[in-house]
């Protein structure tokens, strides 16, 4: 009698978990306000023996180009720059909603490019309602 109850409880837990995961992973298109943008700062690390600094920016640019297609946003021209050695910042327009922010963070942190590890340090969407009107760098 205990074993079927245990299986039933396990099935219920799995069912609830799948439903929660489905709710979390559901992508919903949200209207982004006019003039909004998203600032991103990432730290890139290249696992390569010979001259990693030379390819780090290029590999990071390639990864950003891939991931911005995923969230359907453009990198603002000339906004990609190296803040520190191994740390890069860029701006995306239009601004990303909360679902796209999660997708972009996952795409950048994912092991998508061999020998490249990217850690997202800052990812924030700024709208005109926030009272910030930063010029594109």
């Amino acid at each position: 009698m205990r074993r079927p109850l245990a299986w039933l409880a396990l099935a219920a837990v799995v069912g609830v978990g799948v439903l929660l995961l489905r709710a979390e992973l559901m992508t919903v298109e949200l209207e982004t306000p006019e003039g909004s943008f998203t600032d991103v700062v990432v730290a890139a690390e290249v696992k390569q023996e010979d001259d990693p600094d030379a390819v780090r920016e290029e590999m990071t640019r390639g990864l950003v180009s891939t991931c911005r297609l995923l969230v359907n946003a453009d990198v603002v021209a000339e906004s990609f720059r190296a803040v520190e050695p191994g740390v890069f910042a860029f701006r995306l327009r239009p601004g990303l909603d909360e679902f796209d922010v999660r997708e972009l963070r996952g795409c950048l942190s994912d092991a998508r490019v061999q020998h490249l590890l990217v850690d997202v340090l800052h990812l924030q969407t700024v709208t005109s309602a926030d009272g910030v009107d930063a010029p594109d760098r």
Partner: protein, 180 residues
């Protein structure tokens, strides 16, 4: 060592399964795929190891060492343990459902005995009444006490002694007094 290997495999299996969910939640699909492959490989490996271990146990129990007589103590330990009889009559089991079946069987035997007794009594009482009734019915059609056909001497002495026309018809012309 073997237990440690099993423990390590199970922990790795659980961790990889959990990380699949974590990476999917974080939208890191490549990592999720890699950990998912590890999870599947561990699952297949553990399942195969479980099956092989079970097969090994079965083979070990089946195979007896050739030419070696087991010790009496080993025989005793290998003998199946006698199960307690009438387990269903234990006090702690009286409220369980399996007490129902013996009670049902016992009740069936009891009811069959009562039915057999009733049938025997009914048969005995009915047989006496039926026989008496049959005897009364047969008495009406019983043969008369005197013979139906007169003896030769009676026929010669008195050709038509009987007055019953049916008897006279049965006796034929001599009895009826007709010409021979």
């Amino acid at each position: 060592m073997k237990k440690l290997s099993w423990l390590l495999a199970v922990v790795t299996l659980l961790a990889s399964g959990g990380y699949v969910l974590v990476y999917v939640y974080r939208w890191e699909w490549h990592r999720a795929q890699l950990v998912g492959i590890l999870f599947l490989a561990l699952l297949v490996g553990l399942s195969a190891a479980l099956v092989l271990r079970r097969l090994g146990q079965l083979e070990g129990t089946r195979r007896q060492p050739a030419g070696r007589v087991p010790e009496p103590l080993q025989r005793l330990r290998a003998a199946p343990v006698e199960s307690p009889p009438f387990r269903w009559l234990r006090p702690e089991d009286l409220d369980r459902t399996h007490i129902f079946i013996p009670v049902l069987l016992g009740g069936g035997v009891l009811v069959s005995g009562i039915a057999w007794l009733v049938e025997r009594l009914a048969g005995a009482s009915a047989r006496a009444g039926v026989e008496e009734e049959l005897a009364a019915s047969l008495r009406d059609i019983a043969f008369p006490g005197e013979p139906l056909v007169p003896s030769r001497a009676e026929a010669l002495a008195a050709p038509a002694t009987t007055s019953d026309p049916a008897v006279r018809l049965l006796l034929g012309p001599p009895a009826a007094g007709g010409p021979r």
